[in-house]
Amino acid sequence: MVNLSPRFISMLSKRIIPCLDVRDGKTTKGIKFRENVDIGDPVDMARFYYEEGADEIVFYDITASSDRRDIMIDVVRRVAEEIFIPFSVGGGIRTVEDMRNVLLAGAEKVSVNTEAVKNPEIISEGARAFGSQCIVLGMDVKKVSPSSRVPSGYEMVIHGGRTYTGIDALVWAKEAESLGAGEICLNSIDTDGTQKGYELKLNSLISENVDIPVIASGGAGSIVHLYDAFTKGKADAALIASIVHYGTYTIREIKEDLHARGVKVRKTWD
């Protein structure tokens, strides 16, 4: 029999990770299927993507008020009863106690972003308490002119991109790794929401200089963008949002296409 399967670029499957923004227990963008069904419940959406073959799911809690955190914990608990793949929760994690609550409710990982920049010890404390595999460092990055402070030309920004920190993204990625971060979710503020492709240079720069996995984030608008993130961008996983929420592609279509291009993905179909 002729072996028609393409030559894979890695033995470990590249992960496809849908990201759901949640506010007050509801997703901010529902899924708009071709059949025009619109779901805004994070538990239903998570189940849908789980059944479609997502390798992991990221929830980002954008609830403004901290006294409504319990709503998110309840969402995490309900998601954990329905889906049997890893999922992570970020947004509003300020203390090791916040991490513990999310993990005990059933999340596999927690991500810290702004808080980690302000207080890097939260990474090491979290890693010590729960293991590095639980701690994801979220990075929001903007392209700037290289300078003595930011030699890589990529600067860390916080508060959703509104505040420049003067910290070089590459320096911060390495420091977070040495503090015990188990993975990096690398978001480019410049490409986020554009659907014009991931920031590939930033991605390969970080990915080639750390030993922990890097998830590319920000800018996916087509399957070629994911292909580029895995090949040129050296990403281990890719975060997607609009491309699936708006029904442009299903996760299965994305995976079938990547598979045909020689990217090893987890096949959940036959």
Binding site: L104, E108, Q133, P213, D236
Partner: protein, 215 residues
């Protein structure tokens, strides 16, 4: 009743939730009596081998595990639980339970794939398992099925007779090992979607006997 052994080693609730979803009753426990009375045992774990084995010994569960292993009760080790059933681990230079002969090794650094691609450590993500030896717990697992792994050390049994499944990551390692009524896997079946749930279900109905091999 299935006992999920609690020795402060990670999130046991995801195993519990998966078993409940499958319709099996289970209990997260560290009491000797409850474990001895249970019909089968799941032995999970994340974190470092040294601390895990210390915690296990401090609450006296190492002896309970040995006892139930001798008694022929089905035991499932998951992740770190698949490592500390061996004799010793390179992690913290730890003496382990020795229910299966062999040791736990760290992935070499640097690690590269057959095509020369740099591989990151930990081995984190989805990978497949090639069945080396038919086993009731792997019944129905296809070569294309993938499972969720997170680890920097891997089990290395002393003999092929303990190897049930293997996985490639820079090197070929034993991702599923077993001996008599004990079966243990490096990946997380409770986080591995439908194929993972199938393995858990297989374990929950297993009589503790491997297929008799005809030589």
């Amino acid at each position: 009743m299935i006992a999920i052994i609690d020795y402060n080693a990670g999130n046991l609730k995801s195993v519990e939730r998966a078993l409940r979803k499958l319709g099996f009753s289970c209990s997260i426990t560290h009491t000797r009596k409850e474990i001895l009375l249970s019909e089968r045992i799941i032995f999970p774990g994340v974190g470092a081998a040294g601390r895990a084995i210390n915690d296990l010994r401090n609450i006296g569960l190492d002896k309970v595990l040995e006892e139930t292993f001798e008694a022929g009760k089905p035991i499932l080790g998951i992740c770190l639980g698949s490592q500390i059933v061996l004799d010793k681990s390179e992690e913290n230079n730890t003496q382990c339970l020795g229910l299966i002969a062999g040791e736990v090794k760290k992935f070499p650094f640097p690690l590269t794939s057959g095509e020369g691609e740099r591989l990151k450590i930990p081995h984190m993500g989805w990978n497949s398992v090639q069945v080396a030896r038919k086993h009731p717990v792997l019944e129905g697992v296809k070569s294309s099925d993938e499972f969720y792994f997170v680890h920097s050390y891997y089990p290395k049994p002393s003999s092929d007779q303990f190897v049930i499944g293997t996985t490639d990551y820079g090197l070929e390692f034993s991702s599923v090992i077993g001996h008599k009524n004990l079966v243990a896997m490096q990946f997380h079946p409770e986080k591995s979607g439908i194929p993972g749930l199938r393995i858990l279900k297989n374990f929950c109905t297993w009589d503790g006997k491997p297929f008799t091999t005809v030589y």
